[in-house]
C-alpha cells in the first residue's frame, strides 16, 4: 500500500538526526508520544490511491519531494504592515502569528482577555506547564492509521494553544495566523494546535493559513479541539496558501453534552490541499453546523473529508459544503456520518453542491451515512452542475452583459456559505476574497 520509501526514510532520518536536541526539552510522555508516532509513520508510509481515504488524490508528487524542516525564525522582514492582506481589517481580536509553524510573539498582539484565558504558543506551554496539555495532546487526533497525523505528532514543536476556562465568554475572536515563508528549497512545517473550551464557555477562533510570497512548501497541520459541556465554539478556517503549496490539515473535535459548534471553512489558495474535519458527539444534545466553500482554478486540488460521529443520542448535525471549480482544478468531497447504536433522535443533514465553470474541472463527491440506530432523521445529497443558461439569458434580457451575469450567479452560489459567517469583518473579507476570485473580472461591490 505504501510508496516512496526513500521519502519516508527522509523524514525518519531527520527525526533521528534532531532527536537528541528534542529529548533535552521533552517531558517523558511527549518523548514517548513522538516515538510511537514516528514508528507509526514509518509503518504506514504515504498512502497510494488504492487507499480508500486517498482514492481520488495522488500523493506521489508530495511523497517524492524532499521537504526540509522550515527554519526557525520569527520572520525577519515581516512587519505588521505586510500582514494587512491576510488579516481582517478593523477586526478587534487577539492575534497570534506563527511563522513556519512557530509562534512569532513579535508579530502577535493581545487584547485584554478575561481572567484565566490562555492564548499562546504550544512550545511555551510544553516548556513551562506541560501538565495542562498532557490530557489532550495526541489523545483526540489518533495517529495509528493516519500517516500525516503521525508525522505531525512526531515533529510537534509549536502551534497555538487556546484555553478558555469554565463559564468564560470571549467577546472578541482569536485569530491564529499561520504564515509560511517559502525559500529556494521546499520546506515543511507541522503546526500543532490545541483548543480547549471549558464547560459553558464561549469562543470564536479564526485559523488562517497563508503565505506572503509564492513558493513550494508543505504545511502539515493538526488541530485538536475539545468543546466542554454547554460550550459554544465558532470556528473559521481560511485557506490562502501559495498556489504552489501543499497543505494537509486535520481538525479533530470532541463535543461535550449540549455543546454547540459552528465550523466554516473557506479554501481559496493552495496547490494541493487536503482538509479533514472530524467531530465526535461524546455527550447528548450536541449541535454542529459544518460548512465549507472551496473556490478553485488553474491546477488546484482540494480534497476534503469530514466525519461526524453521532455516538450520543439527541445530537444534531447540519453540513453544507459548496465548491466552485474553474480551469483544470479538481475537487474531492467525502462526507461520512456515523450514527452509532443507541444514538437515537439523531438529526443529520449533509449536502455537497458543486458548480463547474469549465469543461476541464472535475469533482468527486461522495456523501455517506451509516446508521445503526432506528429512530433518527438523516439525509444526504450531492449535486454537480453548471451555471443555468436560462438564468444567464434572463439577466441579459435586462441589460446585464454575459460576463457580469455569470459572475453574479457564481457569487450567489458562494454567498450562501459566506453569509453564514457571523463576524462582520470576517464576512466582509470573505466577500472580498470571493469577489476577487470570480472568473470574469470583478463584479461591482454593490453585490454585497
Amino acid at each position: 500500500m505504501a510508496v516512496a520509501v526513500p521519502a519516508v526514510d527522509g523524514y525518519v532520518s531527520e527525526f533521528v538526526r534532531s532527536s537528541a536536541d528534542r529529548s533535552r526539552r521533552d517531558v517523558p510522555w511527549l518523548g514517548d508520544l513522538r516515538k510511537v508516532a514516528i514508528e507509526q509513520f514509518a509503518r504506514l508510509g504515504f498512502p497510494t490511491i488504492k487507499h480508500e481515504e486517498w482514492k481520488y488524490t495522488n500523493l506521489a508528487p508530495l511523497a517524492r519531494t524532499p521537504f526540509r524542516p522550515a527554519g526557525v525564525h520569527d520572520g525577519p522582514g515581516i512587519v505588521g504592515e505586510k500582514l494587512k492582506p491576510v488579516t481582517f481589517g478593523m477586526l478587534r481580536c487577539t492575534q497570534l502569528v506563527f511563522v513556519n509553524g512557530r509562534h512569532a510573539s513579535r508579530l502577535s498582539w493581545h487584547r485584554p482577555l478575561p481572567a484565566g484565558v490562555r492564548a499562546t504558543g504550544l512550545a511555551e506551554v510544553l516548556r513551562d506547564d506541560p501538565m495542562v496539555v498532557e490530557p489532550h495532546l495526541g489523545r483526540h487526533a489518533r495517529s495509528d492509521d493516519q500517516t500525516f497525523t503521525a508525522l505531525n505528532t512526531a515533529f510537534i514543536e509549536d502551534g497555538a494553544f487556546v484555553h478558555v476556562p469554565k463559564g468564560t465568554v470571549l467577546e472578541e475572536p482569536i485569530h491564529l495566523l499561520f504564515l509560511s515563508t517559502p525559500s529556494a528549497e521546499p520546506t515543511v512545517s507541522h503546526p500543532r494546535n490545541l483548543v480547549v473550551l471549558g464547560p459553558a464557555s464561549q469562543a470564536t477562533i479564526i485559523e488562517s493559513y497563508a503565505s506572503l510570497e509564492d513558493g513550494s512548501y508543505f504545511t502539515n497541520a493538526v488541530t485538536e479541539v475539545v468543546v466542554g459541556e454547554d460550550a459554544v465554539l465558532h470556528r473559521y478556517k481560511v485557506g490562502r496558501e501559495s498556489e504552489q503549496a501543499y497543505h494537509i490539515a486535520r481538525t479533530e473535535m470532541i463535543q461535550g453534552r449540549s455543546s454547540n459548534v459552528t465550523s466554516h471553512t473557506i479554501s481559496l489558495g493552495g496547490g494541493f490541499v487536503r482538509d479533514d474535519v472530524n467531530t465526535r458527539f461524546a455527550g447528548e444534545g450536541g449541535e454542529l453546523s459544518l460548512d465549507g466553500l472551496y473556490m478553485l482554478g488553474g491546477r488546484q486540488l482540494f480534497d476534503t473529508h469530514t466525519k461526524i460521529d453521532h455516538v450520543a443520542p439527541n445530537c444534531t448535525s447540519r453540513e453544507l459544503y459548496k465548491g466552485i471549480l474553474d480551469g483544470a482544478s479538481r475537487g474531492v468531497f467525502n462526507g461520512q456520518i456515523f450514527v452509532r447504536k443507541g444514538a437515537q433522535k439523531t438529526v443529520a443533514r449533509q449536502t455537497n453542491k458543486n458548480l463547474l465553470l469549465s469543461n476541464e474541472a472535475f469533482v468527486d463527491s461522495t456523501p455517506g451515512l451509516e446508521i445503526l440506530a432506528d429512530d433518527v432523521k438523516c439525509n444526504h445529497g450531492s449535486t454537480i452542475g453548471q451555471l443555468a443558461e436560462d438564468a444567464i439569458f434572463y439577466m441579459r434580457t435586462r441589460g446585464i452583459d454575459e460576463a457580469t451575469a455569470r459572475n453574479i450567479l457564481t457569487y450567489a452560489f458562494a454567498a450562501e456559505i459566506v453569509n453564514l459567517v457571523t463576524v462582520a469583518s470576517v464576512r466582509l473579507k470573505m466577500n472580498e476574497l470571493v469577489l476577487s476570485r470570480l472568473p470574469y473580472g470583478r463584479v461591482s461591490k454593490e453585490i454585497l
Binding site: A388, D390, A391, F393, Y394, M395, R396, T397, R398, G399, I400, D401, E402, T404, I408, L409, Y411, A412, F413, A415, E416, S444, E446, I447
Partner: protein
Amino acid sequence: MALLEVRNLHARVKDKEILKGVDLTVNLGEVHAIMGPNGSGKSTLAQVLAGRVTFEVTEGTVTYDGKDLLVMKPEDRAREGLFMAFQYPVEIPGVGNAYFLKAAVNAIRKYRGEPELDAMDFLEVVNEGMKLLGLDESFMKRSLNDGFSGGEKKRNEIFQMAVIRPRLAILDETDSGLDIDALRIVANGINSLRGPDRAMVVVTHYARLLEYVTPDFIHVLADGRIVKSGGKELAMELERKGYGWLEEEAGRPPSGR
C-alpha cells in the same frame, strides 16, 4: 419610421420550423395583441425578438428603431429599449431583487451614456413601481423570483418593466396562470405604462387579459404565420369561435380545440 418591423421571419429549433414567415409592424404608442392556439409560435416569436439563441433565424429581417435587431446581443437589445416579460420568469436564488434591478438599470444607463442612479434616485423609481404593482418593501429583499408564487413572478416582470421603462415591451403570456385579482393588478400596471413613447406587444392565449388591456390591433398567429389581423373586436370573435376556423384558413387541419 416604425419602431419594430418584422419581415418574413422564419425560425426553427433544431429541424423543426416554427415561424414560417411572420410580418408585423409596430409603431410607438401602439399596443398589439398576438393571439393564437398553443404551439402556433407565439412564444417563439417573443423569444426570437429578445435574442434567445435556442431559436435559429433562417430567413427574414427584424428592424428595431432602424437597426438590425437580429445581430444584436440580448443585453444590447435591452439597452436599446426592448423588454420581454417572461412567460416563465427564472428563479435565481442568492441574487437579491434590489441588487439585480439596480444592476440592470445602471447597465442600461451606462450604455446610453447616462450617469448611474444613486441609491436615492433608484429608491424613488422603485417605490413608484412597487406602488403601481401593490408590492411591499420585503419584496425587494427577497431573492429574484426565488420561491415566488406564479402571480408574484408575473407582477415582478411588470414591476421590472415599470422601473426599466422600455420603448418596446413584449409581454409573453403575462396573464397565464393568474387569478382575477392578480390579473387586474397586472393589467393596471400595463395600462399605466401605456403612452406615446412606448409600444407593447402582448402575447396571449386567452382573450381574458384583453378585457382589461384594450389593444389597438390584434393579430392571430397560426402555424407560424399571422393569418388574420384586425381591431379589438377580433378578440370577441375569437372568444366565440375559437381558433379552428383560422387554422383551416391557414391550411392546417384544426387542432381540435
